[in-house]
Amino acid sequence: MELLLAITIGVLVSTSVYLMLDRNVLRFLFGLVLLSNAVNLLIFTGGRLTAGAPPLIDAGEYAPTGVVANALPQALVLTAIVIGFGLLAFTLALVYRTYMTLGTVNSDEMRVAEPADESKLDTGRLGMGKANPAKPATGQEAGI
C-alpha cells in the first residue's frame, strides 16, 4: 500500500505542477489545490500507516493500549489543511480582484509592475504616484 500511495502522490505532484505552469491563473489555482492535497498525503504517509487504530486512549487507561496510529503527522496535517484553505481563499480573492482590475486571467498579460519594455512602466497604475522619470545616476554619467 505504501508503494501505491507513493506513486499516487507522484501523480498528484505531477498534475499539480503541470497545472501551476499554466499561464491561466485559474489552472494555476487548481494546481495549488491539488498540491496541498499531495503534500498532506506525503506528510501523512511519511508518518507510517496504521489501519483501524486511531490515536485514542480508552476510558480508564493512562496511555493507549497496543499500537495506535502516529498522532503527530495527523496533527501537522490538520494544521496544514486549514492553512492551505486560508491560502486558497486568499489566492482566489486575488485572482478575482486581478481579473476585475486588469480584465485578464493570463499571467503573461499581468505586467503592470514589470512591463516587458521597462521604459513603459506605468507607476500611476501601481498607486506609486508620479515617480521621477529620471534614470538613476551612474558613475559613467557623472563625467570624467
Binding site: 505504501e2 490515536p55 493512562y62 486549514v82 492551505g84 486571467v105 503573461d108
Partner: protein, 762 residues
C-alpha cells in the same frame, strides 16, 4: 579651491577642531612613553571577544606596530592641526573631523591587532573612512566617482584578503597573529601556501596601489589636501605594506614571495616615477611619487634580507616624514595662490619664506641629499640591493636607482621650481600660510634633518625594533650618515648627476610623455569604467533572463531547479533505498478504488477544459484523500478534509461565475517542456517517498505524546491534545494566518467596488 563655500565662524574648527587635535596628540605622547619598553621586546595584551570563533580583542605592540602608531598619531596631530585652519570654517567641518577620527581609530586598530579577524574589521573601517573622505566634496561628480572607485578596488581586495585570512587561520589552527608568526616553516611547506599568499597579496596590492591596481590612488587626490597627506600618502596606503611586513615571518622568504613582490614593486616604482614626470598638477606629481614609494617598499620587503627589510623600514619612516610635509606644503601654496600647476608657480620664496623652508627640507630629504635622513634611506636601499644574489641584485638595484633618480628630479619640480626665480602671476596674491598650517610641514621637515644628523636614535627606537619584528630574529641595526666611500656612495653620486639632468630637461620629458600618452591605448582608469559597465550589463542581462516578469518562467525555474538538484543528488549519491514489498497482495479492492479515484480526479483536472468538470474532479481527489485518512486511522483529519474540500468547491464555483471560461483545448495547449518538469517533480517525489519509507522510523516524539497526553493534559484524543495543548502556539499561529488571509481577502474585495467606478466612467 578651499574658499568657495559659505564660511562658518569658528576659531580653529571650534570644539570639533580641538577634540580632533587633542585625540592624536595625547595618544602620540602616550605611545612615545612606551617607546623604551617596546624597544626591548614586543608585548601582547588581550581580552576575549568571540571565543567560540577564536576572535579576540588583543593587541600586539612591537617595533612594527609602534612605528606605525607613532606615524599615525604624530602625522595625525599635524594633519588635524592643519585641517582646523584649512577647513575649520567649512560648514561640514565637524563631519570631516568625525571621518578623520574614524579613520584614525581604524588605522590604529589595524596596526595594533593581534587577531586576523580584528585586523580585517579595522582594515575595512579604514576603507570606508577613505571612501567618505575622498567623497567629502560630495557636490563634485569627480569626487564621488573617485571615492566609489577607491572603495570598490580596495573593498574587493579586502574581501579576497578575508578569504586568505580564513584559509590561513584554518591551516595554522589560530587567528592570533603572535601564534601564527611562529609557524612560518610549517606554513611555507603547506600545500595551501601559494593560495594563502596570493589571496593576501590581492588584498595588500589593492590597498597599497601596486600596478595594475594603482589607478585609484591618483584619483583619490580629489579629497581635501590634508586627507591626501594623511590617508593617501602617510598611513592608509601603507596598510598593505604593513600587512606584508607583518606576515613576513609567516609567509615571506620563499621564491614566490621574492619574485612576486620584487617584480610588482619594481614595476610599480618605475612606472609611477615616469607617470610623476608626466603630471603638471603638483598634487598629482606627489600622488605618483607616493605610488613609487609604495612600489619601492614592496620590492624591498620582497627581497627579504635583513638589510633589505631594514632599508624598507627606514624608508617607510623617511617617506612618511617628507611626503606628508610636501602634501601639506602644496595645500598651503594652493590656499595662498589658487593654483597647483607646476608651470604657473614660480618665485614664491619671498612671499612665503617659511613654506619654502618646509618644502626645501622635505624635498632635500626626498632627493636623498646629505645630511637628511632621506640620504641614509637611499644608501641603505642601495646596500640592500647590492647585497642580494643573482638577477635579484641587478633588478632591485636598477629599480631602486631609477626610482631614486626620479625622486631627485621630482624634489626639484615640487620644491625648487615653485619657489625660486622671478615671481610669476597667480590667480590670487601669494601670502605666507598661518601658523597652524605651517607647524606640521616645518616640524616634519625638521625631523627629516634631525634624524639625518642623529640616525642612531631612529635606529635604536624605531627602525631596529621594527626590523626585528618583520625579519623575525634579532640582529643589530646600526644607522649612520657617513659609511665611507663604497659602491652605495658611488651610486648615490650617480643618482644626483642623473637626477639633475632629468630635472633640467623635465619639461621636454613631460611633453614627450604627454605625446606618448595620447597614443597609448592602455588606460587603466578607462578600463575600470568598462569593467563596471560590463558588470552592470551582465547584471541586467541575467535579471532579464531569470526575472523576466513571467510567472510561468518563475515556476518553471523553481520546479526545474528542484528536479535537477534533488534528482541529481539522488543519482550522484546513489541515495535511493527501498525496503518496500512490490507485491500488491493484501490490498483491499476498496483501497484500489480510492487510489484510482484520486489519480483519476487529478488527471481529469488537467485534461478537462471545462471549469465545472475541473472543480468537480478536484473535489473527487480531495474526497479520495479524506477516505485515505479514514482508512488509516485519522478520523479527525478526514473530517476536516471533507469540510474544507466542500468549502473549496463551493468557493471556487462561486468565484468562477464571475471569471471567464478556460480557453478551449487545441494542439498548442500541450506543453512538452512543462510536462517534463512536472513528470520529473512527480518522479523525484515518489522516489523520495519510497526512500523515506525505507528508513527506520523514529517514534520518540509520538511515544512522548502518547505517554503524556492523559497524565499531563487530561485528554484522550491524542491529536486534539497535541493541537490545543502541546503545540498550542502553533495552532494559535495557524488561526492568525487564517484570520490575516480573511482580512486581506476582505480588503481586496471591498476596495473593488469604489475603485472600479471611475474607470468605468472614463
Amino acid at each position: 579651491m578651499a574658499d568657495d563655500y559659505p564660511k562658518v565662524d569658528r576659531v580653529m574648527g571650534g570644539a570639533a577642531g580641538w577634540i580632533s587635535i587633542a585625540f592624536p596628540s595625547i595618544l602620540f605622547l602616550y605611545f612615545l612613553g612606551l617607546l623604551p619598553q617596546i624597544a626591548l621586546g614586543p608585548q601582547v595584551h588581550g581580552i576575549d571577544w568571540v571565543p567560540s570563533l577564536g576572535i579576540n580583542l588583543s593587541v600586539l605592540l612591537d617595533g612594527l606596530s609602534m612605528t606605525f602608531v607613532l606615524l599615525i598619531t604624530g602625522i595625525g596631530a599635524a594633519v588635524t592641526l592643519y585641517s582646523a585652519r584649512y577647513l575649520g570654517q567649512h560648514p561640514d567641518y565637524p563631519r570631516f573631523v568625525s571621518y578623520l577620527l574614524m579613520f584614525m581609530v581604524g588605522m590604529l586598530g589595524l596596526v595594533l591587532a593581534d587577531n586576523l579577524i580584528m585586523l580585517f574589521v579595522f582594515w575595512e573601517i579604514t576603507t570606508i573612512a577613505s571612501y567618505l573622505l575622498i567623497g567629502f566634496n560630495a557636490d563634485s561628480a569627480k569626487s564621488r566617482r573617485s571615492a566609489l572607485q577607491a572603495l570598490l578596488v580596495t573593498g574587493t581586495g579586502g574581501l579576497i584578503l578575508l578569504g586568505g585570512m580564513i584559509v590561513l587561520g584554518n591551516v595554522a589552527g589560530t587567528f592570533q597573529l603572535s601564534e601564527i608568526l611562529t609557524q612560518g616553516d610549517m606554513l611555507r611547506a603547506h600545500p595551501w601556501y601559494l593560495a594563502i599568499l596570493l589571496l593576501f597579496l590581492a588584498g595588500t596590492f589593492t590597498k597599497s596601489a601596486q600596478v595594475p591596481f594603482h589607478f585609484w590612488l591618483p584619483n583619490a587626490m580629489a579629497a581635501p589636501t590634508p586627507v591626501s597627506a594623511y590617508l593617501h600618502s602617510a598611513t592608509m596606503v601603507k596598510a598593505g605594506i604593513f600587512l606584508m611586513a607583518r606576515m613576513n615571518p609567516a609567509l615571506g622568504g620563499t621564491d614566490a614571495w621574492f619574485w612576486i613582490l620584487t617584480l610588482f614593486g619594481g614595476v610599480t616604482a618605475v612606472f609611477a616615477s615616469v607617470m610623476a614626470m608626466r603630471q603638471t598638477d603638483i598634487k598629482q606629481v606627489l600622488a605618483y611619487t607616493t605610488l613609487m614609494a609604495l612600489g619601492t617598499l614592496t620590492m624591498f620587503l620582497g627581497a627579504g634580507t635583513h638589510y633589505a627589510i631594514m632599508a624598507a623600514m627606514l624608508f617607510l619612516v623617511v617617506h612618511s616624514l617628507y611626503k606628508a610635509a610636501l602634501f601639506l606644503m602644496i595645500g598651503i601654496v594652493d590656499h595662498a595662490t589658487g593654483t597647483r600647476e607646476a608651470g604657473v608657480l614660480g618665485g614664491l620664496s619671498k612671499a612665503m619664506p617659511l613654506t619654502g623652508l618646509a618644502a626645501a627640507l622635505a624635498a632635500i630629504s626626498m632627493a636623498g641629499i646629505p645630511p637628511m635622513v632621506g640620504f641614509i634611506g637611499k644608501e641603505f636601499m642601495y646596500k640592500a640591493g647590492l647585497g642580494l644574489e643573482g638577477f635579484g641584485a641587478f633588478w632591485v638595484t636598477i629599480m631602486a636607482f631609477a626610482a631614486s633618480v626620479m625622486m631627485f628630479a621630482v624634489g626639484g619640480i615640487v620644491a625648487l621650481k615653485p619657489f625660486r626665480g622671478d615671481l610669476r602671476p597667480t590667480p590670487t596674491e601669494p601670502h605666507e600660510g598661518p601658523w597652524p598650517m605651517l607647524a606640521g610641514p616645518l616640524v616634519l621637515g625638521a625631523l627629516s634633518l634631525i634624524f639625518g644628523l642623529v640616525p642612531g636614535v631612529l635606529g635604536y627606537y624605531l627602525v631596529g625594533p621594527a626590523t626585528h619584528a618583520v625579519f623575525g630574529e634579532v640582529r643589530e641595526v646600526h644607522l649612520y650618515l657617513w659609511g665611507g666611500v663604497n659602491m652605495a656612495l658611488i651610486l648615490s653620486l650617480l643618482t644626483f648627476l642623473a637626477g639633475w639632468l632629468v630635472y633640467r630637461r623635465h619639461e621636454a620629458i613631460r611633453t614627450r610623455l604627454a605625446a606618448f600618452e595620447a597614443r597609448n591605448p592602455v588606460d587603466f582608469d578607462a578600463g575600470w569604467d568598462r569593467l563596471l559597465e560590463g558588470f552592470k550589463a551582465f547584471a541586467a542581462w541575467q535579471t532579464r533572463l531569470i526575472q523576466n516578469g513571467s510567472l510561468q518562467r518563475y515556476m518553471a525555474v523553481t520546479f526545474g531547479t528542484f528536479v535537477v538538484l534533488v534528482g541529481g543528488t539522488y543519482l550522484i549519491k546513489g541515495a535511493f533505498r527501498s525496503g518496500l514489498s512490490l507485491t500488491t497482495e493484501g490490498i483491499h479492492p476498496v483501497q484500489w478504488a480510492v487510489l484510482g479515484l484520486i489519480a483519476a480526479g487529478a488527471m481529469l483536472t488537467v485534461w478537462t477544459h471545462s471549469r465545472m468538470t475541473a472543480v468537480a474532479a478536484m473535489g473527487v481527489t480531495g474526497i479520495g484523500v479524506a477516505l485515505i485518512f479514514i482508512m488509516f486511522s485519522a478520523p479527525d483529519v478526514a473530517i476536516t478534509q471533507l469540510l474544507v474540500e466542500v468549502l473549496v468547491v463551493v468557493l471556487v464555483s462561486v468565484v468562477m461565475l464571475r471569471l471567464p471560461y478556460l480557453p478551449r483545448r487545441s494542439k498548442a495547449t500541450f506543453r512538452a517542456g512543462h510536462a517534463m518538469i512536472a513528470g520529473g517533480m512527480g518522479l523525484v517525489t515518489t522516489f523520495l517517498m519510497i526512500s523515506v519509507l525505507a528508513t527506520d522510523f523514529d517514534r520518540r516524539l509520538t511515544t512522548f505524546f502518547e505517554a503524556a497526553s492523559y497524565p499531563e493534559a487530561y485528554g484522550r484524543n491524542i491529536v486534539n491534545v497535541i493541537l490545543v495543548d502541546f503545540r498550542a502556539l502553533d495552532t494559535f499561529g495557524e488561526v492568525t494566518v487564517v484570520a490575516i488571509a480573511a482580512i486581506a481577502a476582505f480588503a481586496l474585495l471591498r476596495g473593488m467596488s469604489t475603485r472600479r467606478k471611475p474607470e468605468e466612467e472614463s
